[in-house]
Assembly symmetry: D2
Homo-oligomer: 342 residues x 4
């Protein structure tokens, strides 16, 4: 069974696992107050080019988003997010559970927030009978694999400054976004009030970095992590993983590999004439494949179904990761070729 | 200045004010444990035809909605409401502040929830990565003045039973809805798990009745009222008002008067050729009037602006109430006629 | 039946009721944006000697406290309150329902917070594994009738400044505290970041004023009122009541009357040899009376039972208000005298 | 440096680390829907003797507690816990952040909840002006190392049944409690509505098992885990760890080892005449040691300071774990002996 189900089907990259093995018994203080976390914080600060950024580690993505928004917003303040944004749809109301409304902005199939859609939501909330929009949530890559350019982020930043909004970027799949030529880590540190760097989907066993550039938002952040159950007792496990990922460019390499595998799938399927729901440059691909073909593939490969169409095709999601092997891609394309008679 | 701004511009109907004056010094236990509240509960129970219904009083509409949804829902459960529903738009995220997501269903200009729109939202939430739809919120009249028929509520009830959803009806303007021939109080008590009967907009100084038919939802409701700041110390003030409204049919009469005044405005304006954003049978009317005309009217009359249109007209909202006098309606129509040269 | 049950057994003082009657049909904009509220805000600002204070009106006391603490505190921040403080005990967890812990400080039978007790709680919360104390809650009068002197408040203010804490005073019974010679309104405005002025228990039908001196705490306060269901549609009802209370010294007079009635009860009972749980100078008195005596009184008078003692006495609470008549006090003392054979 | 700081200074037991290494690349579905989690659930169900128990895995202890209480309680319901209980003190208000008050019951230096203390809190909360006690929280071992006997739990269960309370046991240090002869896993499954089995402090990298016996409390629990950020993407990491701990008795063995090391410290120090704050049979020991001695030890050993006493001694906490070596214990006792001249 070759899995294109998601980018968290395997454990950790061997270098990370090795580091965890080697440090297993060394003894460390808890709650990310250890030398590994300190070192990882230094490496991340260097990578994003901002020694003043507050850098924290948490275990998962929903935790990162809900901890940040809980920390950043006052009770009546709301987040504006693209309608397909993770916090709007796939986090079981985690943001609302902290008391904040998520305002869904119109977005296209790329899942990106445009300046126009942002302004439209903002204008619809003029007074105290409505929530007050205060934070813009975007994800990079988006939920449908698109990647923000530096220019797009600069445009959003400008509107945020004009309207008094924070800009927050969910980087659960940032490794893939960076490798796809999107805005750089240094750009993010300049343009976002806060952003996350996802480890879970890019080689770590688990773990997300939270980088807070706006000092107003950084105050007492560890209290909020602890209150929301995110302060890992053996916090150095996060430090060890991120010092490995941010030494010697491993984080970037793993994103590049994931993208290469995804683009090989894309090109192969395009070459056989199949179309895609969006033109993704990253590690998620959304082809339309005939139901009869999928029926034949399903014993040997795994994917997620996005939508079944009336024309006997299905939009599926194929996801690659640092762990995807060329062999899996070749096998998939070979099987498609064989079963579809292309 | 004649006000068509809203239906809460004046104090209480004289009979209610009189009752408050008469009982002012009689001395009562607090927190709605007094004989007036008991009597009002009996009268309401009789009016809705359900002696088993739990009946509570709170001061305002947002309080009623947020107290109910807070009491009825578990943390991961969400409300489905029409996109224009009050809880979605005009309560400053009060429902989200209790931790619950409001899922906006598509709706037309009448602001009603259809069975199709309800099913569509429900189907989009299949598993634990998303909130669990658990309650259907509708308002009657809707925010744009429409009124649910008994058949429409029966259809919603049927889907709610099928899908395991509670049906909750916000009756902030129920007086007008009843008078417009919508579903009766007895219908509501049969079809809704819970609903409110608005006093603020129908002759009371303040006050909403909460009627809970589903015994599972009624448990410990007074705790939730108290916790959310809604347990009025001098609770008999609510009892006195609702025993007045529900004795001798005053509640119905006031709704009828409000509607008569609104329909007189509607017919008058229609007779002069003006069109409306929706065909409202109730105390809110949404005509399109020329900007030049409105400019001339604005010193003598007050209304709310809904939307300015490119064709030099504006959609306004005219609201009538128990306190609106025929004289005000006549003056408005006369002024329109005069200034528009119809 | 003469009631000493509480200070909210009757409606409004006749002058207030009269003002409500007179303004009933004048027509006003909603949500406290009307001239009566503006006028009341001016009068209160003048009375507290701070034209810069933000002044808001809400319906009830639990609402005032939970709205303020919700608005003032970040998620991990906690209130320190005397163990018998209203928010600790009698608000059904309203503060916790906004996410904030109430840290109970040791206090004596007077219910006052001392500097020592405050410091002790603060010192026990040194790091992010615990909540961060951020606000000091006191009530004046306290729940057991005690009154803070200006010197006591100055001492608390000094510690608050030292430790970075807000000072919040719940004035649900402030009328009685002022009349008992406690810190003046102008003192409160100088010493507290925010405080409330209770109307419900001092002549109003309902209503509490929130005065926020610290501009950082005042930001967007109307959003929080609305979100928590406290923005009264017919907001001018609050304005009319408080402009009456704060014109011509009515607020002070009503507090004085309540205290006079209470002190007459106290002196009468002391003269007959009965002892008290505390030496209250205000409108709540807590005598110990023999059970046999109470048995004889209970048909004609009403009070609250605080605690039954092993020595066949009961600690009761006698509360007076603006509405308590000399006749009631005389009748009570006469009956005690008669039944106890003193 | 020998660490007696806590029981989470090292990574995972070698057998667990080995299992993680071996399964690293096998590919699994996410969110604990994999065969390892299924297997671990079977093994735990067997160990607790209840095949009907709902069994879930989360990453940490605060997460386990706050997820459970959030799932189990309605908004007005409160937890009763010993005053030193973890949720009362050391979780940064995580329970209050879900809206629920923690009612602190008096407890002795052993940190146990007695039936009397429980009843006292319950009796103080009779009506809707106060929170409604609904759940009893205890921890085993307690925060000061004590262990509940089966008889003690039976007595608490009986009161819980009488008063309509849930019994919840926080087993963050359950490995040590079981090894100290406290109530067995099967007893817990019979007596508790829900309890947790801590992995973090007993050989796992991270992870706690939540066992819910009361089916009413189990409904939709995965939604709450997800909403609160606790649904680990690579959930099989939890499954792999707990199937290792619950195969071949490893969980019990590790608890026994930790206790043996702790009791060796205890006996050694007692033999030298030092006294203890409590008579702990488990892996936390709380001796009083002279400040001068501690000054000499501090370069080679690490511990936590609990309290400094006026007699120039300090109460410290020594914690052992599965990873504590005999060598460390010997070195500590040797150093004490040497420096104190005993």
């Amino acid at each position: 069974m070759y899995r294109f189900t998601n980018d968290y089907s395997e454990g950790a990259h061997p270098r990370i696992l090795n580091a965890l093995n080697e440090t297993n018994l060394e003894g460390n203080f808890g709650y990310s107050t250890d030398p590994h976390c300190d070192h990882a914080r230094q490496l991340v600060a260097q990578a994003i080019g901002n020694p003043e950024s507050a850098i924290h580690f948490v275990v998962g993505g929903t935790q990162a988003n809900s901890t940040c928004l809980c920390a950043f917003l006052r009770p009546h303040e709301a987040a504006i997010a693209p309608a397909t944004g993770h916090i709007c749809v796939h986090e079981t109301g985690a943001i609302e559970a902290t008391g904040h409304k998520c305002l869904a902005a119109d977005c296209g199939s790329d899942g990106k927030l445009t300046v126009e859609a942002l302004r439209k939501v903002w204008q619809a909330h003029p007074d105290e009978h409505m929530v007050k929009p205060r934070l813009v949530y975007i994800s990079n890559t988006t939920e449908t694999g698109a990647v923000y350019t530096t220019a797009e982020l600069e445009a959003l930043r400008k509107v945020c400054d004009e309207l008094g909004l924070y800009l927050y970027l969910d980087g659960a799949r940032l490794g893939s976004a960076l490798a796809a030529g999107g805005a750089s880590l240094k750009d993010l540190a300049k343009l976002c009030d806060a952003f996350t760097i996802g480890g879970t989907k890019n080689g770590a066993l688990f773990g997300e970095v939270v980088c807070i550039q706006n000092p107003r938002l950084a105050e007492d952040f560890r209290y909020i992590i602890k209150q929301r159950g995110g302060l890992l007792a053996k916090g150095w496990l996060l430090g060890v993983q991120f010092e490995t990922l941010f030494a010697d460019g491993l984080y970037e390499q793993l994103g590049q590999h994931a993208n290469q595998m995804a683009l090989a799938l894309k090109e192969g399927l395009q070459g056989m004439g199949f179309s895609f729901a969006s033109d993704s440059p990253s590690n998620q691909q959304f082809p339309f494949l005939p139901n009869a073909l999928l029926e034949k593939l399903k014993g040997d490969f795994h994917w997620e179904v996005i939508a079944k169409n009336p024309d006997n095709t299905t939009q599926i999601r194929l996801v690659t990761s640092w762990a995807t092997q060329q062999e899996a891609v070749d096998a998939f394309l070979q099987a498609v070729r064989q079963h579809s008679g292309v």
